[in-house]
Structures are given as C-alpha cells and as structure tokens.
C-alpha cells in the first residue's frame, strides 16, 4: 500500500496504490489537507488516482468523502483521475456505499465519452 502526492503538475495528483487501509490513513489525511490548503490566496485542489488501488477500508472512504464535501463547498477541484477498478467499486457498493466517493474529473469523463463514442 502506498499514498503518494505527485506535485509535478498543478493541481497535483494523490496516487493510491495497493490496499489503502488504516495504516496509511494519517498520511492520506495530511496529503488531502495539503492539497486543499489555499496557497497564494487561491484555493487549490487535487486529482486522486485509484487505478492501481486493490482495496480500500472505511478510513480511506471517510477521508475521501469528507474531502470531496469540502472541495465542493469551496468550489475547488477534487476529482478522480483515471478509472476506478471494478473490484473496488463493487466492494464498496456491497458495503453499503451508494457511490464511490469523488466523481471522475470532467476532462477524464470527456475523454472517456469520446473514447466510447469512437468505439461505438
């Protein structure tokens, strides 16, 4: 399991890999707070990449949920980058979470739509 913050491109990407459980909850919280902290008078944000995540426990879901709620309230970008593994999506749905926390990034969604369109 690992939680990394790729700051090479604004607004930056938090990458979640492997099983994201209570062992990395504190680190994930710190990175989310860092990503959402205003800098130079401007609200920032981040993308969250979960494509290589294999599992997620309730601590991670809570953090992403809380971060998304605050990002929406503040009008900042906090969205998924890339796909959510189906296994992860199913596991969370079976555990009673009606949807995966965070929505796909608008750009990703558009790309995805375009791809689907070209396939169709």
């Amino acid at each position: 399991m690992s939680v990394r913050f790729d700051r090479s491109e604004a607004p930056g990407t938090i990458r979640l890999e492997g099983d994201i459980d209570v062992g990395c909850a504190a680190e994930l919280k710190a990175l989310l707070e860092e990503a959402m902290a205003p800098r130079d008078g401007r609200q920032r944000g981040a993308r969250i990449a979960v494509a290589t995540a294999t599992g997620m426990d309730v601590t991670a879901v809570q953090l992403l949920w809380a971060a998304e709620r605050e990002a929406q309230a503040a009008g900042m970008v906090l969205a998924l980058e890339g796909p959510v593994p189906e296994m992860l999506r199913t596991a969370l749905r079976e555990a009673g979470f009606q949807r995966f926390p965070l929505a796909p990034h608008a750009q990703d969604d558009a790309d995805d739509g375009a791809q689907r369109g070209s396939q169709g």
């Binding site: 209570v22 504190a26 809570q62 809380a66």
Partner: protein, 703 residues
C-alpha cells in the same frame, strides 16, 4: 511495527492455547454427556475465535483448517448433525493439528498435511451424511463447498431466493465505536462475513463524518443499517449473527432484530405460519427482544467470554520482572528499616515504617497477580485419560475438584509433568480392566480423581484412583532385594510406599500391580522436591491409591519470622508457625531429658535446633519454642531468640545444596547478612526419622 505484529502473534498463541484446552475439555464432556447445547455452542465459539484470530494474525492455514471444523459444529448447533463419538475423536485429532500449527513458529513440530486432509475428509463424510439425511435442499447442491457457510450462501442466492423459499429477515444496526479500527478490526470484512449467511443489503450512513480537519483518520464514523435475508435451508440463529461480531462486540453498538419470515409463504415453516403484522411478536421476535434486553443489561459484554470481562492479558515475563523488582525493593526496604532503627530519628523511623507498610502491600498485590487457578492444568488431563482409556481398553472417568484453587504460575508451570506421570501410572497400573473390576465386585468404570485445596501456605494436590492399590509386600520385598531396606526392618506404610519414588525401582522385573509404579515416579519426586514440595502416598489393596503433593503457594517472597540459633540467623515461614512459648532450663529439667513441653495442658514434642545444627556454644537461659503444625499434629522447634517478623525474598541455594532437605532457600537480611530459610515440615520429619532409626536400626541406605 514488526515487533508489534510479533507481539500480536504471541498474544494469539497464548489465547489459542487456552482455547484448545477449553475445547478439549468440552469435547470430552460432550463425549460423556452427548449433545449438550451449551457445550456445543462453546465448542463452536472457541473454534470461531481460533479461526478469526488466526486469520487476523496471518495463520492462514490454521484459519482455513479450523473453518471446516467450525462448519461441522455449526451443523451440530443447528441440529442437522449428531454429536457422535466419531466426531469427537476427529475433532480431538484436529485439535492436535491446530496445536501444531499454533506452535509451529515457536519451534514445535509442524502439522501433518496428510493427517489434516484425512481429518477433514472424515469431517466432510460426517457432514455430508447429515446433509443427505436431513437437508435435501443443501444436498441438491453439487458443490461440496455448499456445505460450509459460504456454500449455504451460494445455495440461498442461486436456489433458495430464486425458487421462492421462505426466508428469515434480520435487521441489524451496526455502529462501530471510536476504537474499532485502531484495534485492527475492519467493518467491511465483518459485512463480508455476514453476507455469507444470506442476502445482505447494506446502507452506510455518512452523516457522522466530521469536517476533514476535525476528522481523526483512524476512527470509524460510518454506521450501517443492514438487512439480512436467509433461506429456510440456511436458517441463521441470533448467536450465529452475533458470532460474526464476536471480536468487536465490546467496541461497537449492535442492535439485532428479527422480523421473522419474509417473501413467499408457500413453503413456510412454523415461524412463518405464526407471522403477524407486528413481526416482533413472533417466536423469532422474542429472541430479538431477549437479545436487546440482554444487551441493555450487559452493555459491552462479549458472549461466551463473560468471565473474562474486565481482565487484562499480560505476558508472564513482565510479571516475573515485576516480582523480581519487588523482591529487590523488599531487600532494600529491610536495609532501610535497619538503618532507621539505628538513627533514632523519629521522622526517619516513621518514614521507614510507612515504606515497610507500602512495600508489604505492594508485595502482596504483585504476588497475587501471578496466582492462577489450576483449572487449565487439570483440564488438559481429560484428554490423556480419554486417549489412554481407549488404548488400554479401560473405562475411566476423570473427576476434578478444587480447580479454582490458585497457585503461583511458576509452580503451576512445573506441575504438569509430575501430574502426567502420576495419572499415566494410575491408568497403566492402578486401574484395572473392566473385566477384572467386575470380577472383583467393582463397577466396570473406574475413576481417577484430581483434587486441589489450600492448606496453610501450601497447596495439596491429590491424584487418587479406585484401582487395585499398591501391593505393599511386593514393594517391601523389592526394596529389601535392592538393598534399600533391611530384612525384618519394621517399616511404616509411608516408608514402604516412598520406595516407589526411587530411581528405576520397578524397571528391573515385572511385579503384579506394581510394575511401572516406579516409571516416571523418580521424575515426580525430583520435580516436586525442586519446588520445595513433598509427596505422600497412601494405598489400600483392592481399593485404590492416593498420591498427595504438598507444594508451596509461591516460590518468590514469603512472610517470615527471623530467629537466631547460636551465631546464625534463620527464617521460619510465618504461615506455618502457630505460636511462640518460652522454654526455661527448669522446664527442660522437669521433662527428664525428653524433648516435650506442656502447652496449656497439651504435650508438644520439640526439636532443639541447637542439637540439629550442632551448635556448641552455651544456650541462653530462656529459649523459645516455635510451635508449628505438621501432618502428624503440633510440634515445636526450639531457637535461641525470636527477632521479629520480616518479608523474605527467597533465593535458591544452588544445586550443591539440593540434598539439604530442611533448608528451602536463603535470604539477605537488612544488614546484608545471609539467613537460611528453614522448612519446618522437613525438620520435624527428619527428626522423627532419626529418632525412629535410633530406635530400630537403619533403614536406608543399604544395611
């Protein structure tokens, strides 16, 4: 982190060992009593705990193996499988394999995969028969895994619901407590396990999640509303649902309600027929109401583990360390008291007394921490008796008395081997076969009785059987033959039976009812003596034998009386001392050279320690008789002076002094000098033996 993981694994091993003992005991009781519901539930819960904890701490093979057994006992619990001796034997054999898996990394032999497979095959055969006989719905499922819980889920999903079978509906409100995640539990895994019981619909409630900056990352804020539908073929009990939460029941709020039956009623059972609009009025609803009522009365209690509520598991090594430190403290405190007495400063004396009082309280408390009941040690012999009874064709019941008697853990740890040898000997050579017993007019079934009770500062452990008894004359003849006793010597029963503890006493030749009585008995003697204990044997031909081990309560610190004899200081255990009376020269003269004193009209024999220790200096005009109680009654030990009471840290004298029976250890006094700790029992026994030998000639060693 690695150390933490290892400490969890160690804790699991400790817990598993205890559970395995409990399991063995329950199984053997089940074997005798048949399918007792509470016992079956205890077996199921213990297996479930071993499986769950094992999986949590990385004992995957163990968890998978135990899971199959757990399923079998779930079948028994549900009344679909009978509790047969065959299942008991298979499970006992399985416990041996589980034990090997638990101990594997601790350097013990690993489990035998072939044996494990054979056991599981045997269990599968039994559960398979049960399904063919009683559960047609499950038998239709060709997947062998359908017999386990997961299989039942598959059946309910694939067949039960689709074909319209009647189902129970459980509503569960699960609110994890703040520490649930920190304790290593994962609610999602619990939901997954619950989902294996039927169709689970979960609804996570996120309202409790605070703003990010206030959110404690390792705390669970989500709570769940769950709905579990089960098929008639895979009926789930309240206990089964609670068992899923067994590890977290103290760290969560759980409300379970049964709505009764749901769905189609065409194939409804009795519960469905009783369905009313207010579902909770049904029988199953009563179960729910009972459960909620129980929960209200016992918040936070864990089912099946009630006696452990509020207890704390601490590694024994830490307690040993604590007792060692208290021992050092007691020694230093004694020095402080001696210095304070010399200083004549009232304030220093007052502080010294206060520290003495606190040290004494601390010592008593820390010693109590190491006291554990003998139950676990006793219970494990049920298996030995069961297995030996089967192998030897003898019908023997083990009865246990005083299992709650507490002893220092150090003593208990060393008690297993001697008891094992004594019970083996009783089984092998004491107890007769059913035919022989019937011929002797006894019941065909024999009894071995294991008892423990307190007696002053000692604990008496008795191993008795109602077997053939020891052949007194055969032992005597053998002792004479081996040069341990003289021909024609007048020997008491106690002396004769004492020979069986001589090394290799019975190995040279077979003697009826005697052979083997000496095998392992030397080990018993050595171990008991190393614990500063004594052994007594009584036996009646044709009626049975009783071996009594007298063991000290503790091996660490005792309350003592400091006395002097000549220039030497000695400690007598306070617990064995009844009173102290003066002995004047006039009293000695009045007794006409006999070592007896009159205490309130009662004649009390005494031993003059000056004579025993060969002290040649002149005795004081007034000596002191310390009256002690031993097996034969009251007896006195005469010392020069009594200096007062003292807390005594027992130090071993080392192997060089192991043959000095009358001294049980040494201690360091406040002034730094060493005092020997005397064993009043042994001193009196030795004096009596010497007197007896003077009267009738030597008994031992060879004449």
């Amino acid at each position: 982190m690695a150390n933490e993981a290892e400490s969890f694994r160690l804790a699991f091993r400790e817990e598993a060992r205890e559970l395995l003992v409990e399991l063995e005991s329950c199984l053997l009781e089940l074997n005798e009593k048949g399918g007792d519901g509470e016992l079956v539930a205890r077996v199921f819960r213990a297996l479930h705990t071993i499986k769950g904890s094992g999986a949590m701490f990385g004992f995957d093979a163990l968890a998978a193996f135990t899971h199959k057994l757990e399923n079998a006992f779930d079948e028994v619990r549900q009344g679909r499988l009978g509790m047969t001796p065959q299942l008991v034997d298979l499970t006992l054999a399985a416990l041996d394999q589980i034990r090997a898996m638990v101990e594997q990394e601790a350097g013990e032999a690993a489990a035998d995969p072939a044996r494990c497979a054979a056991i599981l095959e045997g269990v599968s055969a039994l559960t398979g028969e049960a399904h063919r006989g009683n559960a047609p719905a499950a038998a239709e499922d060709s997947d062998s895994g359908a017999r386990d819980r997961g299989g039942a889920t598959a059946a309910s999903k694939a067949g039960g619901f689709e074909s319209g079978a009647t189902a129970q509906v459980w509503r569960i409100l699960f609110t994890p407590g703040p520490d649930l995640m920190r304790n290593g539990a994962d609610p999602l895994l619990l939901l997954r396990e619950l989902g294996q019981m039927g169709r689970l619909t979960a609804e996570a409630s996120m309202e409790g999640i605070p703003p990010l900056r206030k959110l404690e990352p390792e705390r669970c804020y989500v709570r769940w509303k769950l709905r579990l539908e089960t098929t008639a073929g895979a009926k789930v009990s309240l206990d089964a649902i609670r068992d899923v939460f067994i590890f977290v029941e103290d760290a969560c709020t759980l409300e379970i309600e049964c709505e009764g039956t749901a769905g189609r009623t065409a194939e409804a059972g009795p519960e469905a027929e009783a369905k009313t609009d207010a579902g909770l009025k049904q029988p199953a609803g009563d179960v729910s109401a009972r459960a909620l009522e129980e929960k209200r009365k016992n918040p936070g209690r864990r089912e099946g583990d009630r006696e452990n509520a509020g207890s704390l598991r601490v590694p024994a090594a830490r307690l040993d360390q604590l007792v060692d430190l208290v021992g050092e403290l007691v020694t230093v405190q004694a020095r402080l008291t001696a210095l304070a007495a010399r200083s004549e400063d009232a304030a220093v004396l007052a502080v010294g007394e206060e520290i003495e009082r606190l040290t004494s309280a601390l010592r008593e408390n820390s010693m109590t921490l190491r006291m554990v009941p003998v139950r676990a040690t006793f219970e494990r012999f049920r298996r030995l008796v069961h297995d030996l009874g089967r192998d030897l064709g003898k019908n023997v019941e083990l009865t246990i008395e005083g299992a709650e008697t507490e002893l220092d853990k150090t003593v208990i740890d060393q008690l297993g081997d001697p008891l094992m040898h004594l019970i083996r000997n009783s089984m092998d050579h004491g107890v007769e076969t059913p035919e022989v017993r019937a011929g002797a007019g006894k019941g065909r079934g024999a009894t071995i009785h294991l008892a423990a009770r307190h007696a002053g500062a000692s604990v008496l452990i008795e191993v008795s059987d109602d077997g053939a008894g020891i052949d007194r004359e055969a032992v005597r003849a053998r002792a004479i033959e081996r040069g341990l006793a003289c021909e024609g010597a007048a020997l008491t029963d106690s002396e004769i039976f004492g020979f069986i503890f001589q090394p290799g006493f019975s190995t040279a030749r077979e003697v009826t009812d005697l052979s083997g009585r000496g095998v392992g008995m030397d080990v018993v003697r050595q171990r008991v003596e190393s614990l500063r204990g004594t052994i007594e044997v009584s036996s009646r031909r044709g009626q049975g034998t009783t071996v009594t081990l007298r063991l000290p309560l503790t091996l660490a610190i005792i309350d003592g009386l400091l006395v002097t004899v000549g220039d030497g200081s000695y400690v007598l255990p306070l617990s064995s001392t009844l009173e102290c009376i003066e002995l004047t020269r006039e009293d000695i003269a009045a007794a006409n050279g006999k070592h007896v004193a009159y205490v309130r009209g009662e004649m009390v024999p005494y031993v003059r320690l000056r004579e025993t220790f060969g002290v040649r200096s002149e005795a004081p005009g007034r000596e002191q008789i310390m009256v002690v109680e031993n097996d034969g009654g009251r007896c006195g030990l005469v010392v020069d002076r009594v200096l007062g009471d003292c807390q005594t840290v027992i130090r071993n004298l080392g192997s060089l002094y192991r043959h000095v029976q009358s001294v049980s250890g040494a201690t360091i006094l406040g002034d730094g000098t060493v005092a020997l700790i005397l064993d009043p029992q042994r001193l009196v026994q030795e004096a009596m033996r010497t007197k007896a030998q003077e009267g009738r000639g030597r008994v031992s060693p060879p004449c």
